[in-house]
């Protein structure tokens, strides 16, 4: 298994898509910092009355979203890239235990997603916090919620494995990416338009809403906005839903490995 893991690690970092993803994630951190700097410089020029209305939503959520999509795509490409090029035949001829190949990919991607997701979140917070400095801008004047920052890791991990599972089961980049976008973007819009209380109930179990609930953040309380579901799942409940999503992608993927490799 260690041989397989080191092979998958080599495969992951020896293709261009991985470098592009790394660049996109770095750009998202830089973009978040630039946005924060812009808000801070606006704040400096404002009258005290206007300053009351100025708020900045947490930039970590922005960089987390980028991480989620990037790792979902990396997870998809880890398998579809092999099917598209025919490399999969060499891979499965070298390792007839196909489940082990999937497991090795899941381990490599999972560790990367966990590390990069956590690091991005912490780094984004640290950079933005340094830029805001002592300015009491809303949301940045509160003490740091470290738990909320750390949920970025598991959330990114979940997206990476869902991508890997969808890519393996569908064997098509386009199909799997469409499925991820549907889960990540389309379903939340659909959920938002459902009649109450179903908008919140369905909304609470959507992929992108799980990480705050894992940290125990009450979104409705935080933003006070309509359409944002309140805290419906306990942290343990959120963790269970995240695990269920991951398994729901990986189990069909494992079963689909039995098919012929043409």
């Amino acid at each position: 298994m260690t041989g397989l893991i080191s092979a998958e690690w080599l495969k992951l970092h020896s293709v261009r898509s991985t470098r592009i993803v790394a660049a996109v994630i770095a750009a998202s951190i830089a973009g978040g910092a630039a946005l924060t700097w812009y808000v801070a410089s606006m704040w400096d020029k404002m009258s005290p009355a206007d300053r009351e209305h100025l708020s900045i939503s947490s930039v970590e959520e922005l960089t987390l979203s980028v991480n989620q999509l990037c790792f979902a795509v990396l997870g998809i490409l880890a398998m579809t890239g092999e099917y598209r090029t025919g490399l999969i035949r060499s891979t499965f001829a070298a390792t007839p235990a196909r489940g082990k190949v999937l497991a090795a990919k899941a381990i490599v991607l999972g560790v990367c997603a966990l590390v990069v997701g956590t690091a991005t979140s912490l780094l984004t917070y640290a950079v933005c916090d340094a830029i805001i400095g002592e300015r009491p801008i809303r949301f940045y004047d509160q003490p740091v919620d470290l738990t909320a920052l750390l949920t970025a890791g598991p959330s990114t991990l979940m997206f990476a494995l869902i991508g890997l599972g969808l890519g393996t089961a569908l064997r098509s980049s386009a199909g799997a990416i469409a499925a991820v976008v549907a889960l990540w973007y389309v379903l939340p819009i659909v959920a938002m338009n459902l009649p109450s209380p179903w908008d919140n109930r369905i909304g609470a179990v959507l992929l992108t809403r799980l990480d705050p609930q894992l940290a125990g953040v009450d979104l409705a309380a935080k933003y006070g906005a309509d359409g944002m579901p309140g805290l419906l799942l306990s942290p343990a409940g959120a963790a269970a839903v995240m695990a269920a999503y991951t398994l729901a992608a990986l189990i069909p993927a494992t079963l689909s490995l039995r098919r012929d490799t043409r």
């Binding site: 495969k11 020896s14 060499s90 001829a93 070298a94 235990a97």
Partner: protein
């Protein structure tokens, strides 16, 4: 040693391989011949456990491929030269494969030198010509120093120098006592490389014989003309040849041209024509597979592609 036993594989309604049985023995190059669509690649994929057969078995050294741990050390296979990620360098492609079977980097370096790709090891495979990709695929097959090798259409896209290189490589591998199975749809190529031929058509075995046996079977003898035909026929028959009259001449089987000439000279019989007419294996192959060609061109019975 490869054994294919009553192998049957369907894709939907297409019967790709139909109760196929044959053996591939060590120390020989076995040519796996058949027109396009005959089921050669399907059989090879089934041997490698990539496609599950509907019935029958394929065994390598007596066991199913999928039960072999670190199979690259037992079987090396070139299936499709384009089975590589174009964005990865040749070196990284081979290193990743090697790691899965715990094969060291020194083996990677030495196979790259052996196939002549050492100079482009760090180049992306996407920039490779088809011939270079074939060499990379062969390098992958040789990585684990396996005793059984399978090559699916290895000469496709190679220049004459590359074709000769492959031929010598396969002869050398068989000379080491390894089992070598190489598929092709061209008899002309196999005639030069193979010791044994397994010929299939529409998924069924048509012929399993040595190149020598096939040549002999399709030998059409020597055409001889002489003004003293009857006398010559008697002399040739008593020397052990089979003689049949043919269009004013004699068709002689069982004696070669020098023997016929010597015999006639010894008897003082003048010869007006001596034409050896060994049917080429190419013709033999065309005749054997004529019924199983998928896309036959009108008025052209050949299997060329």
């Amino acid at each position: 040693m490869i054994e294919v036993i009553e192998l049957t594989k369907r894709y939907g309604r297409t019967l790709a391989v139909d109760g196929l049985s044959f053996q591939v023995k060590p120390g020989l190059v076995t040519g796996f011949l058949g027109p396009n669509g005959a089921g050669k690649s399907t059989t090879m994929r089934a041997i490698l456990g990539l496609d599950a057969p509907d019935s029958g078995r394929a065994l390598v050294d007596g066991r199913p491929y999928i039960e072999i741990r670190q199979p690259m050390r037992v079987v090396g296979a070139l299936l499709d030269a384009s089975s590589v990620h174009p964005g990865r360098s040749a070196l990284n492609h081979l290193r990743a494969l090697a790691r899965t079977n715990r094969i060291g980097t020194s083996a990677v370096v030495s196979v790259m030198e052996r196939v002549g790709l050492a100079g482009v090891a760090r180049k992306k495979v996407g920039a490779f010509s088809l011939g270079m990709k074939q060499r990379l695929g062969i390098a992958a097959a040789l990585l684990g120093d396996p005793a059984v090798l399978m090559f699916d259409e290895p000469v496709n896209g190679l220049d004459p120098e590359g074709v000769r290189w492959i031929r010598e490589l396969m002869r050398g591998l068989a000379g080491d006592g390894r089992t070598v199975l190489v598929s092709s749809h061209l008899m002309s190529e196999m005639q030069l490389t193979a010791d044994r031929l397994v010929i299939i058509g529409r998924g069924k075995l048509i012929e399993d014989a040595t190149v020598g046996e096939l040549t002999k079977r399709f030998q059409r003898g020597v055409l001889v003309r002489s003004p003293r035909g009857e006398e010559l026929a008697a002399a040739l028959s008593s020397a052990g040849a089979t003689v049949t009259p043919e269009g004013g001449g004699l068709s002689v089987q069982g004696l070669d041209v020098p023997s016929i000439g010597d015999l006639a000279a010894a008897k003082g019989i003048p010869l007006h024509e001596v034409t050896p007419r060994g049917a080429s294996l190419e013709e033999a192959y065309m005749r054997l597979t004529a019924d199983s060609v998928e896309h036959k061109s009108a008025g052209y019975k050949a299997v060329a592609s």
